[in-house]
């Protein structure tokens, strides 16, 4: 048996053909020279071998169907516990502390924001790198070495655990190596853009300590714009213009300012409702545009998107490379022969024919980004987020993180809604997968 084994192995050890033939000759010659007795029982084993083959085939079928069974069991147990928990509240509600009112809406919007940002950043970068590696042949030794270094680097980056990327994101994007002031400090972040700050005053009429006789005076809030978060507190003066966030949206109102201890209080209700106590301290509030930008990024949407970018960039590069490799070389050669420049070949010939493959890879990578929990958990921590993100730096949570949050709690009710959340998450991911598989199937048919 052992002799048989070595015989089977010998051509596979990568020996040169000469060596293997001489060995084969030697082995053929051996029985003759040794005069080993001819053993017929060793030859008549074909029935044994065939039964072995059949047994092995049966074992294979059993293990392969085990994988199907696992999937069916996994999906089945999730559906059994998750489907009853599905409700409209779960989809559109906020993560309330009572399980029957809790919902996924902020997490859903967070996933949408983070993954859209992530796709916008990662796709150009990843496709660009793949084009560089596949379509541009290096002309000198240095370029060749750099390209092979990049290639090696990408294959190794694909194996780095995502939790490590989370740690890198925490240092590089959330706190930016502590080069800038903390985003949560009182002075605010070092640099910001797209935010307007206001001092908020309330009117005198509603102040219980200055009862002006009008018991049901409406409480009104006036916003006076200031330059920055750290600007000195505004002292209200009569005749100042302020914004009021009324029922009809923002309106400009002329305000009056009095010192209630020294000045005379007017009896006119309308005037009083526009009057501000000029000794009061206002609250500073901010109005942020959707593109609000600050350095460091803090635990917001952008930091999450960039961290996920680190996770899926190698995946996108590798799948795009495979798609580009599948484009027949004759197409490129034809375009080059017509006088196209390398970029024109890429843009007009290679990319259009590789698009289905690239899209398949991109969709699968995005579905990975949607399901990725660990890096987001590391950078955001377990936080209680009550609203959908409003701007790029807003704190956010994502669906898998919210689900993790619910699984972690001891109460069974939370486990039930977690199962419901998982069903929603899986529905999204399976849709993504199905689209990717469809695109690939169509592409294969076209190539045939």
């Amino acid at each position: 048996m052992s002799g048989n084994d070595s015989h089977g192995d010998s051509p596979l050890q990568g020996q040169s053909p000469d060596a293997s033939t001489t060995e084969a000759v030697k082995q053929q010659a051996e029985p003759v020279t040794n005069g080993a007795p001819f053993d017929a029982s060793k030859l008549v084993t074909s029935r044994n071998r065939i039964t072995k083959d059949i047994r092995f085939r049966q074992m294979c079928i059993v293990t392969a169907s085990a994988s199907v069974l696992i999937l069916v069991f996994l999906l089945g147990s999730l559906l059994v516990s998750g489907l009853p928990a599905l409700s409209w509240t779960l989809l559109t509600g906020y993560p309330e502390p009572e399980p029957e009112n809790a919902g996924l809406w902020p997490a859903l919007m967070g996933t949408l924001w983070v993954c859209t940002m992530c796709a916008l950043i990662t796709l150009p970068l990843g496709i660009g790198t793949a084009i560089l590696l596949e379509e541009f042949t290096p002309r000198n030794k240095l370029a060749r070495n750099v390209l092979s270094l990049i290639q090696l680097n990408i294959t190794n980056l694909a194996g780095v655990p995502s939790v490590v990327y989370g740690i890198i994101g925490l240092t590089a994007f959330v706190s930016m190596f502590s080069l800038f002031d903390d985003a949560d400090s009182t002075d605010g972040p070092s640099m910001e853009m797209g935010a307007v700050y206001f001092d908020q005053f309330s009117n005198v009429a509603s102040d219980p300590f200055l009862n002006t006789g009008d018991a049901d005076a409406r409480e009104r809030y006036f916003l006076i714009p200031v330059d920055s978060r750290g600007a000195p507190v505004t002292v209200p003066k009569t005749g100042m213009l302020a914004y009021e966030n009324g029922e009809a949206g923002f309106a400009t109102v002329e305000i009056l300012a009095i010192d209630p201890f020294t000045d005379e209080v007017s009896a006119d209700a309308d005037i009083m409702s526009r009057t501000i106590d000029n000794t009061s301290t206002p609250g500073r509030i901010s109005e942020k545009q959707w593109y609000y930008l600050r350095l460091p990024f803090g635990r917001g949407v952008v930091a999450g998107a960039l961290t996920l970018m680190l996770v899926i960039l190698p995946v996108i590069i590798i799948s795009t490379q495979e798609a580009l490799r599948a484009v027949p070389a004759t197409l490129r050669a034809g375009a080059l022969g017509l006088g196209a420049t390398p970029w024109q070949v890429v843009w007009n010939v290679t990319l259009p024919s590789a698009i289905p493959g690239i899209m398949t890879g991109a969709i699968l990578a995005m579905s990975r980004a949607i399901g990725e929990t660990a890096p987001i958990l590391i950078i955001a921590g377990i936080v209680y987020i009550r609203s959908a993100p409003q701007h790029l730096m807003d704190d956010c949570t994502v669906m898998p993180l919210q689900i993790y949050n619910w699984i972690q709690r001891p109460q069974d009710e939370f486990h039930e809604i977690a199962a419901g959340g998982i069903v929603i998450l899986l529905a999204i991911l399976l849709t993504f997968n199905a689209v990717a598989i469809l695109i690939r199937h169509r592409m294969q048919n076209k190539l045939r």
């Binding site: 074992m59 392969a64 999730l78 516990s81 084009i131 541009f136 995502s162 960039l313 660990a374 958990l377």
Partner: protein, 325 residues
Amino acid sequence: MSSELDSDRRLPQLEQQVQTLFVRDRRSLSWVRIREKGIFLCLIGCGLFSLLITGSIIFVLASETFRFFQFPDVTLSNFFLSTEWNPLLGNTKSFGIWALISGTLMVTAIAMILALPLGLITAVYLSEYAPRRVRSTLKPILEILAGIPTVVYGFFALLTITPFLQWCYSGFNVYNAMSAGIAVGILCFPTVCSLAEDALQAVPSSLRDGAFGLGGTRFDATVKVIIPAALSGIISAFLLAIARAIGETMIVALAAGSRAQVTLNPGDEVQTMTGYMVQIAGGDVSNFGMEYYSMYAVAFTLFVITLTLTMIGNQIRKKYRETYE
């Protein structure tokens, strides 16, 4: 006579036209050249960005780990030799990484006992035995299994596998290494399977035909010819799967527990390196304290282990690809 005059008059005009055409062409050519250069530089920038990522990973981990060892309570000998990991509670803090590594190895070993044989046999079936129709249904199923988020596997481990294990044998803790290991094994199974199948498919069919020609059954061809020929690819698939299991986070964070200890009992609670990182990041540990930096030291250890495994795996795979291409 008149026609000559005409042509004389026309000639400079034509010449001018031709000249402008050439000038425009030249201009457009130089524009094309600039565009080509610019785009090429952009692509180079994209490529260098991936190098920058690796650089920053190493820089961040190394510098923050260095800062961790600057704390007076932390010593290198304690970190590398002790088996007691007790960073949060008590007066005597101890940072012995072996407690976390043993937990990680425990979960990984359980996962691999499950995933490696199953994955390899399924890969052999898919590559050598399965009819085309079975193949075309099994492969998408494996892809779906591979695409399920890890937090879902964590849920499955904590709320389905653990109760089942406790029903089988009551000695299992609520958090135990066994159930996390089984879930990680299910997670790694598609990885092993598809990578091993790639390796088996890469074996030239001439070897297969040779084995059949010598009268071998499919089993003979597979076990004696194809698997030895694809061995390097299979080993690389195993190494990559082990690296993936070591780096797996959400399953162990949910199902394996949070008590770092060296134990051989699979029914007991263990903490892995990734589980510790999640515990620190999710808990309310003060930023920039000793515990916070210990997270970086653990991450660095994890990074070195997984990077070594991935690099060896990729190197082996590259080798076998070269042999048969």
